[in-house]
Amino acid sequence: MHGYEVANSIQRISDDILEVEEGSLYPALQRMLIKGWVTAKWGTTAGNRRARYYQLTAAGRKQLDVEMSQFERVIGAITRVIEAV
């Protein structure tokens, strides 16, 4: 997917609840590029425009798992604290 599509899919999948400042995607994507978690390739969109397509790498997937489990641990903790209240 290219940057615009990523922004749109985030919005769509989260049912418009998550509205990110779209531009901040790009520095984030750059950081992931540096770390080797995504690769980028220039291609053409449906509307015949030149766009850069990003793809998750194996290392990226691993990092995603790490972040996911981290995130779930935090959410679990917060939930437990709230339930205890």
Binding site: Y26, P27, Q30, A59
Partner: protein
């Protein structure tokens, strides 16, 4: 490995920066356009669609910057940008750039030059393997004269066999011109510098020969076939670097020797110049008598031994030498024991370098001060410049530049100046080195080791960093934190006193340092004056031509004939037109001769075995004293009759006469002799003292003998074969005169080469070379300091006046007279100068003590010098303030008030 791949990715971005920017730009533009289209489709107008898209996107410029920063090359791009900007700014003000860079180049260059000398002479280790293990081994007769050191054969034998701390030891024979050997068998006879060594000497130094072999113990045995080793230079010169030289024979002093080896090209024996041959010392153990201290020793310590252990070991072995070998006839064992022979071991490097180290450190300190003054000047210049950029810096800060960023930029500009100053400084240093080496006192050891090599370059780098930080940080500290609001139109009331503090401080430092250097120079000047005004004992040395002649045994085997030949030469020389007198002697003043011996006086009793003091011995011809201008105080000179008839007579110097017999007249007729079995010799004359050791040391006590003596030092006949001729003529020193002399000598004996051709003035100036060298160097440093300091002071005052033009105009408009303005400006200057002088005075009092071993006739805190220099500097500094003060006075109030 991941980090390696990551670094590779980052590196790729650095190389393709522009492409990266373009890609990101295109990406973001696409995003914005797609969002805009979407907004258009939902019914917005074009203008609002674009605005909405932009709003949702965020700050594109900021995001682009953030993306770039993520890749981690921001620092690099900042530095590149600062450098480009700095270069541009320097190009725009070439005057400032040239002055700053030149000031730095001079300061840094001088410091690098003196460091090169210091490194080559003092700091660099000797160029032998493991040089820290090498020691010079000598013995000192503490009770006779603690300044003498030497080795004798018996010490060598005993130390070699019984030492516990030496890996290997050897002794070598002193190599003054007398040691020059006559090498014949080639086209013409030549006198060659030679070195006599025992086999241990070369193996101690551990330099393997380039060809052939070095001496083995068998070469040292008396009666073994005679061998010789060539130095590389001699081999190249005489044998055209032909390897077949090994095995060939050369005739040295009439004896055939076989060449067994050639030493490598870069081999140097300690500090000896122009060494040609190395010959084995064939010492015969059975014929060794004690106390012939004609050699020097060198040894390599064992891996675990220290110098003090070796000293203790030698102290242990010295009594053994006295037990193992017999004393020479005429000298008692008791006498030798009372002489208190003691070990005198030094690291070999120290023996080579001597005490020139202090001198070099003093010079280093002096030139370091010049560097500091130069830095202060450049810092002042930078401060002024940065002050002029207040507006620009405030603008940058307002736009969001962090303090660090501004500081980095200012430092970068300083770094450019520092780097340029360094590069030119290196050039200045190379030129200065050539000048220094040419000027250096002859006898500066290890001169060939001086050059711009790795430690010097490392030092250059260090100095550059140090000076750049020094003058670069000052404007940074003052201006990097400017957060003041941008003044509109830049209107100022004139600088408040606060702003001047940094610059005034710098100028104070400059004045103080300049004072210290000037006082040191002043002290050296006075020392030099004192030295040159001391009566050396002889007259008009520039008119005295000297040269050395050796009449070898092989040429004239009969000792009794030697003086006849010498007299013939003397007569031939006297016949040359323009020559007023001629004489010869075993040595001339200050030529480094060191022939001493104990002299007994007949009418004094000596406690059993207690030795009489050592006296300097010379063998002179009739007419020698007259030629040199040494006054005859009592009695008469030698005659040729005395010499040929071997009449037992002698002359002594006035100080010896007074020491023993109260007045010179009373010394006449008294008898003296060398050993306890020689004939007594009668004193027939007393001559004036001669300052043989240099002007700064007391005159030696001399005893003069004829050149032919019977029963002298236990030998039946002694003829002085090595003599220095002295010829007084106004033409002394010219080549044509020397040609005439050569003709005269060769008309008597065509085989005699002339060596050591100098005027006596050469020895005289050489004895003061250390003082004059220090004087010149400190003088140059002081002159540079004075120039830089004065310019710096002038600059600060002039700038302050130009900043205060408006204020001065107002003052004059409301009634200030010219002298009020003058005193205003001068007052500010005087304040700075006085504090600078005060600090400088304190600094001088503290630091001139380091100079005291170089001073003579002047104390390190000589009030006259101090007062004189302070007054001089005050006057010059005031003059520097006066010029801008006059300009201030000429300010037209109307113009000043209108001036913005």
């Amino acid at each position: 490995m991941n980090w390696l791949r990551e670094f590779a990715r980052r590196l790729r971005m650095l190389i393709h920066r522009r492409e990266f920017d373009a890609d990101l730009e295109e990406e973001m533009r696409l995003h914005l356009e797609l969002r805009e289209q979407e907004q258009l489709q939902s019914g917005m107008t074009a203008y609002y669609a674009q605005a909405a898209a932009r709003r949702r996107f965020g700050n594109a410029t900021y995001l682009k910057e953030e993306s770039r920063i993520a890749w981690g090359w921001e620092w690099f791009e900042n530095v590149a940008q600062d450098v480009r900007y700095g270069l541009r700014m320097l190009r725009k003000s070439p005057g400032f750039a040239v002055v700053a860079v030149l000031t730095l180049a001079v300061g840094i260059g001088a410091t690098i030059a003196i460091f090169s000398v210091l490194d080559g002479v003092v700091l660099k280790p000797l160029s032998y393997p493991q040089p820290e293990q090498l020691v010079g081994v000598e013995v000192t007769p503490l009770a006779l004269d603690p300044s003498l050191r030497g080795m004798a054969a018996e010490d060598y034998f005993v130390f070699r066999d019984q030492s516990r701390t030496f890996q290997d030891i050897g002794i070598y024979a002193g190599t003054d011109t007398d040691r020059d050997v006559n090498v014949t068998g080639f086209a013409e006879p030549e006198r060659v510098h030679a070195l006599d060594v025992t086999h241990g000497v070369l193996s101690v130094l551990a330099i393997p020969p380039m060809l052939g072999r070095i001496f083995s113990p068998s070469d040292d045995s008396p009666g073994a076939p005679r061998t010789a080793i060539l130095t590389y230079g001699y081999w190249q010169r005489k044998f055209s670097a032909n390897p077949s030289a090994i095995g060939k024979t050369i005739i040295v002093d009439g004896m055939a020797r076989q060449i067994i080896g050639v030493l490598p090209r870069n081999f140097r024996f300690l500090d000896m110049q122009d060494l040609g041959l190395i010959l084995p010392l064939q010492l015969d153990r059975n014929k060794t008598y004690l106390a012939n201290f004609s050699y020097f020793g060198i040894a390599r310590l064992n891996a675990g031994s220290t110098l003090s252990q070796a000293s203790a070991d030698v102290a242990r072995m010295l009594p053994i030498t006295l037990d193992t070998f017999p004393p020479p006839p005429g000298l008692s064992l008791d006498f030798l024991q009372k002489a208190h022979l003691a070990p005198n071991l030094l690291p070999l490097k120290q023996e080579v370098v001597g005490n020139v180290g202090l001198l070099l450190w003093v010079l280093m300190g002096g030139l370091g001060m010049v560097l500091l003054i130069a830095c202060a000047n450049v810092a002042n210049l930078l401060l002024v410049r940065t002050e002029g950029r207040q507006h620009e810096l405030a603008l940058r800060a307002a736009l969001g530049a962090s303090r660090r960023r501004i500081a980095a930029q200012l430092l970068c500009e300083s770094a450019i100046i520092g780097l340029l100053g360094s590069i030119f400084g290196l050039g200045v240093a190379c030129a200065a080195l050539r000048f220094l080496v040419a000027l250096a006192p002859s006898g500066l050891p290890r001169i060939s080791d001086i050059g711009v090599n790795l430690p010097v370059l490392q030092f250059t780098l260090g100095i550059t960093l140090f000076t750049t930080l020094l003058f670069g940080l000052i404007p940074v500290l003052k201006h990097a934190g400017v957060r003041a609001s941008v003044p509109e139109g830049g209107r100022t009331l004139g600088l408040s006193r606060e702003r001047h503090r940094a610059r005034n401080f710098l100028v104070t430092v400059q004045v103080a340092l300049a004072l210290v250097l000037l006082i040191c120079s002043g002290l050296m000047i006075r020392t030099f004056r004192v030295l040159t005004h001391i009566n050396p004992g002889f007259a008009r040395p520039a008119e005295l031509q000297t040269f050395r002649i050796s009449i070898p045994d092989s040429d004239v085997p009969d000792d009794a004939s030697v003086p006849r030949i010498q007299q013939q030469i003397q007569d031939k020389l006297a016949a040359i037109p323009g020559v007023s007198s001629v004489g010869f002697s075993s040595a001339v003043p200050m030529d480094g001769d060191s022939r001493f011996d104990n002299v007994f006086a007949a009418d004094r009793t000596y406690a059993q075995g207690a030795p009489p003091p050592l006296r300097h011995l010379l063998f002179v011809s009739p007419g020698y004293f007259h030629t040199l201008g040494i006054p005859l105080i009592a009695g008469r000179d030698l005659t040729w009759a005395d010499t040929y008839n071997r009449v037992p007579v002698a002359l002594i110097s006035e100080n010896l006469a007074r020491e023993y017999w109260r007045t010179p007249g009373e010394a006449l007729g008294k008898r003296i002799r060398i050993t306890t079995v020689d004939d007594w010799r009668q004193i027939i004359g007393v001559v004036g003292d001669v300052r043989d050791d240099g002007m700064d040391k007391p005159a030696r006590t001399d005893v003069y003998w004829p050149t032919l003596l019977a029963k002298f030092q236990s030998r039946p006949l002694h003829a002085q074969r090595h003599v220095t001729f002295v010829v007084r003529s106004p033409l002394a020193g010219s080549a044509s005169f020397m040609n005439q002399i050569r003709q005269a000598v060769w008309s008597v004996d065509a085989n005699l080469p002339l060596a050591s051709v100098y005027t006596l003035n050469y020895f005289y100036t050489r004895s003061m070379a250390r003082t004059s060298f220090t004087l010149v160097m400190l003088g140059i440093a002081a002159a540079m300091a004075l120039l830089l300091g004065t310019v710096g002071l002038y600059g600060v005052i002039a700038y302050s006046v130009s900043q205060r033009t408006r204020e001065i105009g107002i003052r004059m408009a409301i009634g200030a007279q010219r002298r009020d303005v003058m005193s205003l400006v001068l007052g500010e200057g005087m304040f700075v100068i006085l504090i600078g002088l005060g600090v400088g005075l304190a600094g001088s009092l503290a630091s001139t003590r380091f100079l005291s071993s170089l001073l003579f006739g002047v104390t390190a805190t000589d009030p006259l010098t101090f007062a004189g220099v302070i007054i001089l500097l005050a006057i010059i500094a005031l003059a520097a303030c006066y010029i801008p003060a006059r300009r201030a006075v000429r300010v037209d109030p109307l113009v000043a008030l209108r001036y913005e």
